[in-house]
Homo-oligomer: 433 residues x 2
């Protein structure tokens, strides 16, 4: 119908869709502020090199990139963490620690558009920098759970699965898997939920992992729990340290009241190259959708972008899969935006007086609209109903002379003659916006 379609994998947000996005973003922002995080943002366009070094293979292949007229290689950011690391690295001395920041960035990924995956999308990003202990991990994970609870989801709807790269590295060390192959091993294991064991084994073989070790690795992590480590001969002291860390984390999650959402699961790996400790994902319980959220600890990233060394943990929670889940559970907010009053001039001569009333209502904080075309009162009333106004305010000769306006409640049809001040009083209670 239109000559210019939008690009594949992008979305228009008409008011109905925008209301949902805004509703989600408001809830996310509310949770972040309640947890004492401060909001930040960075440019959508960043130097390509910021991402190519630090992220996993998969993400690099999917970066939207181009060369600008100044011959710079530019990326549309595919994730927020490298920009955050760049910002903190640039000022790390001057920022009081811990740094607790959040952002709701617009991100881009050049990949085949599919259900729940778009080329342009939004995330809630929440990070704590400057704390090495699992105390920060627990705070971050609890905030992630609350960001979904705030949207009306419960422990019946979703779960948070977590593991730790240090536990996985203990397994890889025990199996004597080459340290140089680790990044490819993480990428391969991360696909387990999506592609299955055989495909992962094939990829591990490509990464140079001998078949016997690959199968032992697979058996261990699909055992999911820490007990699965017992079959391997692992150094006792390191194993105890890791078990103790995971035990403390579990106790903290219980103290935060989110333990019913959280499951330790060795198959959680995360594809990104920069994780160094706890890693976690949130999934719908039915397992029908992609991960809602992914995050973890990245203690080396800041130093690697030229900053002071600083421990860090955070997550990204996307809106696209969340909207799918809310739709599937019939939990999306409904109803068009309401304005409180819709002002109608009875004839063209009443227009200026109508504008004055309108201005008084808006000045008193009452969301108000006006019939902008000269039309019959009946047509204007229809428009007021379409706009879901609570009341129509009519102004004609009689009203101008008496100083009282016809106040018509649109759901009942009741009419009363009221002053502007009385209308403000009636409408300023219980109206959104």
């Amino acid at each position: 119908m239109s000559r210019f379609d939008r690009l594949p994998g992008t979305r228009d947000f008409y008011p109905d869709e925008m209301r949902v996005r805004r509703w989600i973003e408001d809830r996310w922002r509310d949770v972040a502020l309640r947890y004492g995080f401060e909001e930040y943002d960075a440019p959508v366009i960043e130097p390509l090199e910021l991402f190519t070094d630090k992220s996993g293979e998969e993400i690099v292949e999917q970066i939207y990139s181009f060369v600008d007229r100044g011959d710079r290689r530019i990326a549309l950011r595919p994730e927020m963490t490298p920009s955050l690391a760049r910002m903190v690295a640039a000022r790390s001395q001057g920022l009081p620690k811990p740094i607790k920041w959040f952002s709701i960035p617009r991100l881009f990924r050049y990949e085949r558009p599919q259900r729940g995956r778009f080329r342009e999308f939004w995330q809630l990003n929440l990070d704590i920098l400057g704390v090495a202990g699992v105390e920060a991990d627990a705070e971050i994970m609890a905030a992630g759970v609350d960001a979904l609870r705030a949207c009306g989801l419960t422990a019946e709807d979703f779960e948070l699965r977590y593991s730790d790269r240090r536990v996985l590295d203990l397994v890889l060390d025990g199996l004597e898997i080459d340290v140089g192959a680790r990044s490819s091993v993480y990428t391969a294991l991360d696909k387990l939920v999506r592609v299955g064991e055989e495909a992962v084994l094939a990829e591990l073989a490509k990464a140079g992992v001998p078949d016997e070790e690959a199968r032992a690795l697979m058996q261990t992590i699909t055992g999911r729990h820490l007990d699965a480590l017992e079959a391997l001969k692992l150094p006792t002291e390191r194993l105890e340290r890791e078990v103790d860390r995971m035990t403390r984390l579990g106790a903290y999650l219980a103290a935060y009241g989110v333990d019913e959402f959280c499951v330790f699961d060795l198959t959680v790996v995360r594809g990104l190259a920069y994780y160094t400790g706890v890693v976690f994902e949130m999934y719908d319980r039915k397992g029908a959708l992609r991960a809602l959220c992914g995050g973890g600890r990245y203690d080396d990233l800041l130093e690697s972008v030229g900053g002071q060394a600083m421990p860090a943990v955070g997550f990204g929670l996307g809106e696209a899969v969340l909207i799918e889940l809310l739709e599937a559970r019939d939990r999306l907010p409904v109803g068009p935006a309401r304005c409180a009053a819709f002002v109608i001039p009875v004839s063209a001569d009443d227009r200026k007086a109508a504008m004055e009333v309108l201005t008084k209502l808006r000045g008193a904080g009452v969301a108000s609209d006006l019939a902008l075309r000269d039309q019959s009162v009946a047509k204007a009333l229809k428009r007021a109903t379409q706009a879901s106004a609570r009341a129509a305010v009519l102004i004609g000769e009689r009203e101008r002379e008496s100083g009282r306006l016809t106040f018509r409640e649109l759901d009942t049809g009741n009419e009363t003659m009221l002053t502007v001040e009385q209308i403000v009083a009636r409408l300023s209670y219980g109206t959104p916006a």
Copy 2:
């Protein structure tokens, strides 16, 4: 200091800067909703052709564009109106009229970075579609004035200058200036404030306007008021219609209570090719800064992108010059974000109990933070003050046994023993966030 700098002309928003951006965006959104507008958004990436046909020369030169791997010519949107027109054109039959939409888009312009001009920036966009009369123009202009008033600016700080392309076309017709050159003439005249009369005359000559006509044109528009048209021999009927339209618009602006902000001024032209009627700009009164806002009527744009013909009027109001103006007038909001409570475990053994208290406070809607590292109470109190918390909540052995927590007001140092419920009551009054 950092290996990866951000790109020239882009900005990082650290929490202090983000708080200002959020403060402005919240005020803008509040005004738009109070005026009965609904929010929408479109992709940042759009087909390049959407902009090259419909916008002025200047903006096309400044578009960030690239070819993606699918061989599509892509633009980072430099303005919002063409995307809006595309969206409305795609669904125009199904949308009740008038359409009153707003957006706060992220936009991009590839130009030399300079004061108040960035390569990535934000605007408030407000548009009414489906109303041909100046009633909609007045509504839009009043909303523009209120979007700045909501940020604390007064009629002493800024003004709205307006004119009408139909009046300008009447002058150009009267001077028999070639219709084919009109787009270049608009672009040239639009630069008057920035480059001065001589430079505009040179550009008009380049556009093929004979010197005598160019000088007459210049004299007329720099006369600013409608009286300046009297020197030209213009067709009476058309002139009367235009004068009547402007008179009615002036009366409506008075009815909206914004007449002290508004000045009719023939030098206002706007560079964009698609304007067809009223055009306007907002400037700081001291004239030290670039335009804060530009807008106007674009009745032909929808049809030209393949939609149903539909009259339309709107504006874009940028944040960059507004922030400069607020800074110059010392009106920027100050102070870091406050969390209400900062919870401190006296020793590591109290940590789980502290997390439970924290979770209760947050659950009751009290923005709360926690000392995440095991450290002395003195150090934790310092951190609480840095975070601008209103109170510290200490929990040690004594508190765990008594079920009452040490509640320390950070401004006075007063300490009381309170239950969690009492703390919630004390802190849920008068706390931001």
